[in-house]
């Protein structure tokens, strides 16, 4: 078991009115899974993603990551989890515009205290892995959208995370670049990285082995492709607990 969410609730407060966003979410993810979280806007999928990504804390419930309960971690503790265990890919890439592809990829390594020369070596390998070894010195505005997203993926990969969290990774891309990015995720998953992706696009979600649908703050469907067809419902149902 890589991560487990138990009875997760999340409420927002607006002018003393409680707005429940997540209601009793239970989710288990094993190492090496390729998971898509789907849902319409306002369903709570982004909030769920933030909680999985240790950017937000649940109002109630238990989050166990790599066997450790992390809901009570300090702010620095959560930073370290994000640094060492998680890799983020955003819809809008979020690259630093004034830095080269290589520097962007090397950024997380600086927070891990790796010396500059070593950083460049590791970052170069990560760029190689996403097929951008000939674009190292380019700045984001000199790269296409698809290339920028691949730089962002390289940045997410550079600390050898257990999990890559992707929030609408193809949302800002044309369909051809989108396909390239999805192929890259598939390769990474084949290499053993757990991929959790948020999308509202069923087409994109179909690349994932397992699709979790979320509606109105609850998991409405958990469908695992990788399992044998006739056992699907039973197992998937079990996961809902």
């Amino acid at each position: 078991m890589l991560l487990e969410l138990k009875h997760i609730y999340k409420n927002y407060f607006q002018d003393k009115i409680v707005i429940p966003v997540l209601k009793d979410i239970n989710l288990k993810v094993d190492e090496g899974e390729y998971l898509a979280i789907m849902g319409p806007s306002g369903s709570g999928k982004t909030t769920l993603m933030n909680i999985i990504g240790c950017l937000d804390r649940p109002t109630e419930g238990e989050y166990i990551l790599e066997g450790r309960s992390i809901v009570n971690y300090s702010e620095n503790g959560l930073s370290d989890v994000r640094l060492n265990t998680l890799g983020f890919v955003f819809q809008s890439f979020n690259l630093l515009p004034k830095q080269t592809a290589l520097d962007n990829v090397a950024l997380p390594l600086s927070y891990a205290g790796i010396p500059p020369k070593k950083r460049r070596e590791i970052a170069f390998k990560a760029l190689q892995r996403v097929g951008l070894q000939d674009r190292v010195k380019f700045r984001p505005n000199q790269l296409s959208g698809g290339q920028q997203q691949r730089v962002a993926i390289a940045r997410a990969l550079v600390n050898n995370p257990k999990i890559i969290l992707a929030d609408e990774p193809t949302g800002a891309l044309d369909s051809r670049s989108g396909v390239q990015v999805m192929r890259l995720f598939k390769e990474l998953n084949k290499d053993g990285v757990t991929v959790i992706m948020i999308t509202h696009d069923a087409n994109i979600a179909s690349h994932a082995k397992r699709v979790v649908k979320i509606f109105d703050g609850r998991i409405s469907e958990d469908h695992d492709d990788s399992l044998n067809g006739n056992m699907e419902g039973e197992i998937a149902g079990g996961r809902l607990i």
């Binding site: 950017l55 702010e75 620095n76 370290d80 994000r82 060492n84 979020n94 004034k98 927070y111 891990a112």
Partner: protein, 421 residues
């Protein structure tokens, strides 16, 4: 840390105009302080040189009564316990640390017994000195010759007069070869001497004037060989000492050690009323320096206000920068940067900004001081410690005024920050 600094420079360089305008307050403040301090320093150096030893570093150690009054032998006779010093005492003093030369001498101030024909030298000083007197007292021969060995061995009745006495007694004549009547004895003038370094103190106030005038000796000096002293004073007297120090800074120490050496040599107790005391010129110099400082220190306060305003400008621009870079901060936090990494990044940036301002301000200040000295002919002395202090201080301004924006940046919620447009 080095990397942080490098990145901060990049970020400062990326907004050249903005950074420069932000720095301007710091630049002006630091420049003003450096310029003012340089001018104060220059004035002080000048006062010090003028008042202490007139640039010649001569220290006078005299037999004085309590209250630093010269002991008057003509009135009180030889004080108890004092005796005439041999020339080997002079040699011993000459061997002391920081002493370049030494002279033993006796003198009468306010002498009214010096005449050239019927012209009286008003309020003159009569000195009986050894062959080192002129050098040790910072004088040089202007005309004629110095005292030589033969003058002493043969008890020659020769005299040297200083330029003041020369002007008083011989306004239109050449004094060399003329004879002076000193207490009824006839002395032939063989030379005229003057201060080796002429100086004109800057007198800005009545107080300056008093300090200056009281530092000067008399209306003219007449020097005769010390061996001739009994002819005019009836007896040999215990001598006073002039020690020539190797620099202005060592004058006080030289004075103290010569005085205590002489008192010990004579067996005079510290508590004695009449004893050897070194003339304390630093005290008078300090008084004048303080006067100059106090006016200029007010200027430093005004420059300090400019630094405060500059610091607030830095804070303002850093707050703008934090807002502009909200997404960057959010991203960095999301990918695992701890809070203090963000804090240090922004503090470093503010410190780099203000330190650069401090360095530019220092350069501007030095240039301003030099230009001032060229224009006004005033002396300036760049003080290196003050440059270091100015740059360190400007760095501290950056850290102090960068703290609020940096804390704000480090406390940003990554979720909110990433959504920021």
């Amino acid at each position: 840390m080095f990397e942080n600094v490098r990145q901060s420079f990049q970020s400062v360089w990326a907004h050249k105009l903005r950074s420069f305008l932000t720095m301007l307050g710091i630049i002006i403040g630091i420049a003003a302080i450096i310029a003012i301090v340089s001018i104060i320093n220059g004035t002080n150096k000048k006062i010090q040189e003028n008042l202490i030893g007139s640039g010649t570093n001569s220290v006078y150690v005299r037999i004085t009564e309590s209250g630093d009054l010269n002991y008057d032998m003509a009135y009180g006779g030889i004080p108890k316990g004092f005796k005439v010093l041999d020339s080997d005492v002079r040699d011993q003093i000459n061997e002391m640390d920081h002493v370049l030369d030494a002279s033993l001498y006796v003198f009468r101030e306010g002498s009214e017994d010096i005449f050239y024909n019927s012209t009286q030298l008003q309020n003159g000083t009569l000195v009986g000195g050894d062959s080192h007197y002129l050098h040790a007292s910072g004088n040089i021969i202007y005309k004629g010759r110095n005292l030589v060995e033969d003058d002493f061995t043969n008890f020659r009745k020769v005299a040297l007069i200083d330029s003041v006495a020369s002007e008083g007694l011989f306004p239109a004549e050449d004094p060399i070869g003329k004879v002076l009547d000193i207490k009824g004895e006839i002395f032939t003038i063989v030379g005229v001497f003057q201060q080796a370094k002429e100086f004109a103190p800057e007198i800005n106030s009545e107080e300056d004037y008093d300090t200056y005038v009281s530092g000067r000796s008399s209306q003219g000096v007449v020097l005769i060989p010390d061996v001739d002293w009994p002819m005019v004073a009836q007896f040999d007297e215990p001598q006073n000492v002039i020690a020539l120090a190797d620099s202005t800074d060592t004058m006080t120490d030289v004075g103290k050690s010569v005085a205590s050496f002489l008192n010990e040599y004579m067996g005079i107790k510290d508590s004695a009323n009449v004893k050897y005391r070194a003339e304390d010129l630093t005290k008078t110099a300090e008084k004048t320096q303080q006067l100059a400082n106090s006016t200029n220190q007010q200027l430093i306060w005004i420059a300090g206000i400019s630094l405060l305003v500059g610091g607030i400008g830095v804070m303002n621009i850093m707050l703008v920068s934090v807002t502009e870079r909200t997404r960057e901060i959010g991203l960095k936090k999301a990918i695992g940067a701890r809070k203090n990494k963000i804090l240090i990044q922004f503090l470093t940036e503010a410190a780099v900004l203000t330190s650069t301002g401090g360095i530019l301000g220092t350069i501007a200040g030095v240039v301003a001081a030099e230009v001032w000295s060229k224009m006004e002919g005033a002396r300036v002395a760049i003080s290196y410690p003050s440059i270091v202090i100015a740059i360190v201080f400007s760095m501290i301004i950056g850290i102090v005024f960068g703290l609020l924006p940096a804390v704000k940046a480090s406390n940003l919620d990554p979720i909110v920050a990433l959504r920021h447009e």
